[in-house]
Amino acid sequence: MFDPHALRADFPILKRKVNDHPLIYFDNAATTQKPQQVIDAERDFYENHNANVHRSVHTLSQEATELHEAGREKIAQFIGAKESAEVIFVRGTTEAINLVAYSWGLRNLKPGDEVLLSLMEHHSNIVPWEIVSKIAGFSIKYANVHPDGMLDYDDFESKLSSKTKLACLSHVSNVSGTINDVKRLAKVAHDNGALFLVDGAQSVPHMPIDVQNMDADFLAFSGHKMLGPTGIGALYGKKALLKSMAPFQGGGEMIKDVLFVQEEGHCGISWNEPPWKFEAGTPNIAGGIALAEAVRYLQRLGMENVSRHETELTAYAMKRLTELKKVTVYGPTDLKKKCGIIPFSVEGLSSHDVALFCDTFGIMLRSGFHCAQPLHQVFKLQSSARASFYIYNTAEEVDRFIEVLKEMEEF
């Protein structure tokens, strides 16, 4: 049984007050709060099992390795990967996309080739491609977004051609909450001979994900947006692709051999197998273990239940926001095409004014571009305020939020 009121007891931070008011945390698209189970998993590793992974034979290292790889297995299962070797531990979505841009893009894209993005992308799915395109000489195209925040599917499909080698798209917009039909677009991309990368930062934490059904070639996501710690996330990649790719960074762990060849005066290097080929240096072991615990927590709740709760809460919030005369909400209104993210503005106030006002009453909102400036250009906004929900948010919190916005309107 999914009960947001009951599960709040698992989150120590939700007991605190901010500015003498009970904390209402509506900035979940930026990062989520952590349940005690995740905090305990990270602490347990350091208290009882801490050692480096893979290369040592002692007991602690064996325990650490087993926990670390079991975490990878759990994450692979959570997203429907064929095997855990398809899951690379990274710092988060940004590093995952950079990994693909540098390891695959830099070596496979050349002048004349194209990468297709959209105007609703987070900067982390724009900037790496812009940087690497300047090195490798390929072009970038951007699919349009309608004023209601929906992707222009016709424009996306029309911009795919034989030149397109890769299409990259957010599954869910971090500003508007728009859900893109990535399964449909993966098929269109593949029909055109292009690979398809899904930015799952705002979808993996909120809905059931099956990479095989979606047929994504790559899926990037962050642990801290799904109850896990910061500094850990994952890149899924189809195994054959990962095997064909060059390493991202060099160092320990990602090599099989580094053999100094006396006659040639340099080292001959052979790479480890994926996923370790892409994990240079000591990984965030505790982070991966804690992320796996976050996955277990979400699985106990059931991702269908998580998704249903957020949809119901968003529907309620959207309905109550219509009571406010000076508030304008952006993005799709059809809840089948939208996640629990609501961008809005208040007439006569900047988004930062709105966020500071709410902060005074203990309500945490995000304000600004949310690292998605091009989408704000589409919406013709200087910035926006954003409320974003997760499993522990309640209708009572939405009621309080509306009360505070009403006070703001009257101020």
Binding site: S351, D353, T360, F411
Partner: protein, 89 residues
């Protein structure tokens, strides 16, 4: 002699096309900072003594008793320093 730094923990340019700057007062000095500001700026509106809409030298800004202030359309750090010096000291 007190300085602006005695009162201000941090200033942050906001993310967005607006040229707003958020000033975060030091926790232990926020009440004194707000009292100084209220003495010198013109009060335009107030919400239950926790949020103040103020103006000073033709600029409007808001102060929150949580210890933050938002200054709109500030050109640069020098201009902000000038205003904070006049308001706080």
């Amino acid at each position: 002699m007190p300085t602006v730094e005695d009162y201000v923990a941090r200033t942050e340019g906001t993310c967005g096309a607006e040229k707003d700057i958020i000033v975060i007062f030091k926790y232990e000095k926020k009440e004194e900072a707000i009292a100084n500001i209220l003495k010198k700026a013109t009060l335009k509106n107030s919400l239950a003594g926790i949020i103040y809409e103020l103006s000073f030298e033709g600029r409007s800004f808001r102060v929150y008793t949580s210890g933050k202030a938002i200054f709109r359309s500030i050109k640069d750090k020098e201009e902000l320093n000038h205003i904070l010096t006049a308001l706080l000291l």
